[in-house]
Subunit: 362 residues, 2 copies
């Protein structure tokens, strides 16, 4: 077998090796099913148990109160942008925090369904930080406030939820979902495409509070109706069974191997510190994009002070088994995505490579 590289892809991103090994082992016959997990009915007892495992693992990891529901939907975070507009905007006005590329996409989609009022923008500062609550120009009558908890492309992360009073807070947590403990009771709806921290692409997780379901208008397109999804336990039609299976395994790995969210946070902080230290100790050879207190634990974004070296840096890293370090095509530079599944050894290898590269070219 070819060797596995350290994979710094921003998403779809690396999965824990023990999870992949389990998938591989059971690929032809899932225990007790007589068939691959891809081949069994979504109404079978076997799949029901997998689905239940995925839900209950997420509930356990987040200490989810009983008035929250775990839903699985298709279409990634982008379809959630649409669903939020259809279900909760309905011609009204909501406050959107414009903190980067994904926030902008959420705003553009929301405009199709009502007023997406920008209550703060980091645009003039080139999206280097997340706002604090006092920075926000909040409308007390907003239908909701929308935030993006981690901006994958810019590499900035919210470490304190904004205080929105009685206005429901909705978060796109696609790129830091289940990467550290959060106080879920502050959120009315929190959603995430799975393909960064909890599974492959093709499924999104939506965690929704009971009272939000009461706001859903009648007559929505079936699969875009949060209430219908909840009433049918995400089984209104055939769900993306295999992706949900991988979510079940990955969340089980978080619980059994990584010490839950407290454990994975410690792990993730250690990993991120290794890379931010490499940047900070480079004397300006590497320059981080984010302000310190908004530095993402998931996506470490930086440039080389000498831009001409960037192509060589990325190519040599790849040759050394450090893949996908190129920044997003919209912003350039470098980006190391170090989600839950990235081992410490990957960050250590990259930091060492950064020091070696600097020594040769500094």
């Amino acid at each position: 077998m070819e060797q596995r590289a350290f994979n710094f892809s921003a998403g779809p991103a690396g999965l824990p090796l023990p999870v992949l090994e389990k998938i591989q082992r059971d690929l032809l016959v899932y225990p007790g099913a007589g068939a691959s997990v891809m081949e069994i009915s979504h109404r079978s007892k076997t799949f029901a148990a997998i689905h239940e495992q995925a839900k209950s693992n997420i509930k356990q990891l987040l200490n989810l109160p009983d008035n929250y529901h775990v839903l699985f939907a298709q279409g990634g975070a982008t379809m959630q942008f649409t669903m939020i507009g259809m279900n909760f905007l309905q011609g009204k006005s909501a406050d959107y925090i414009d903190c980067g590329a994904w926030a902008k996409k959420a705003i553009e989609e929301a405009k199709k369904f009502g007023t997406a009022r920008v209550c703060w923008t980091g645009k003039a500062e080139n999206y280097k930080r997340m706002p604090k609550t006092p920075d926000l120009d909040l409308d007390a009558n907003a239908a909701f406030v929308h935030m993006t908890s981690n901006e994958t492309i810019q590499g900035i992360e919210f470490f304190d939820e904004p205080e929105t009073g009685s206005v429901p807070l909705i978060a796109d947590a696609s790129s830091d979902f289940l990467s550290r403990p959060i106080d879920i009771s502050k959120y009315a709806l929190l959603y995430a495409g799975a393909q960064k921290n909890v599974g492959p692409s093709g499924v999104a997780v939506a965690i929704i509070r009971d009272d939000m379901l009461e706001r859903v208008p009648a007559g929505l397109p079936s699969l875009l109706d949060y209430r219908l999804l909840q009433e049918n336990d995400s089984l209104y039609n055939t769900p993306p069974c295999f992706a949900i299976y991988v979510v079940a395994l990955t969340t089980q790995w978080l619980l059994d191997e990584m010490g839950g969210l407290a454990g994975i946070e410690a792990h993730n902080r250690k990993k991120a510190a290794i890379l931010y230290d490499a940047i900070d100790q480079s004397g300006g050879f590497y320059v981080g994009h984010a302000e310190r207190d908004s530095r993402s634990l998931m996506n470490v974004t930086f440039v080389l002070a000498n831009k001409d070296l960037e192509g060589e840096f990325i190519a040599q890293a790849k040759a050394a088994g450090l893949d996908e370090l190129k920044g997003h095509r919209s912003v350039g530079g470098c980006r190391a995505s170090i989600y839950n599944a990235m081992p410490l050894a990957g960050c250590e290898a990259l930091a060492q490579f950064m020091r070696d590269f600097q020594q040769k070219h500094g």
Copy 2:
């Protein structure tokens, strides 16, 4: 390893064993990628090649003219019901052929977007057959005609496309997609959830003709806009990469191992004949649901004349390694789904079991 059963599941359904073996072999490292296919960027060269393979295999299998596009979408056929309403109904009237459970679902969803006029219904006959063109009460001004090429639950299949003149024909081909040659030029849009004949659940294939894209109104929700999907080659956001990969492998298997659509049709006719013969030669012990010329090659539906024996029949079959023979919960009875991946040996084993069971209980 546990043994694989013969899996007669209606969907998600069996996949070809050589496809599963290839997935298993490359699960930890896809050749040249240094990572699992689940872990790589949808913008990577590796995934681009997989995506291209899936598209070009489908084009080749269907002899697709240049004015057709192959799109991949999420949400299964159910989301296609919605998209058809949003993109092409828009308050107008379209003709729907009500030929069974899935047609009814398409009609219910369409009503949210305009008039779903039923141009024929098989309801009074308990959905035992597909209509012929003269049976249809077609509206020459309809936005389109919608048909369901195979009704999974009732086990009936369209072998002649209805003649709709200049009115675009749209088909839900979820359960007989790529199971036999069709004249694609008769269709303006043909779509299928993958989980019966071409992959796992979590991806739908939509084959759309150029002129339909011109009808798409502006301002639709992004992922529900056929034109946007086509302009972005199904990569507007992260697609269900793994599911598309399985589609690429399964269509490659059809081309390389099964002789394309002509080859698989011969295979499928042989398989279906084995089971329908077992029914017809049982002297009324087994009773088929469908009229002969509408008998599905994909889903063989039947009841036992003595209803009291059905539970025992299904349980004993399962014990003999013949899984998932229970009819859909909405209609009861028995159903053997024998999509492309079901081997001849599976149908032979079931026919033999049927004869043995009858001998014991007849």
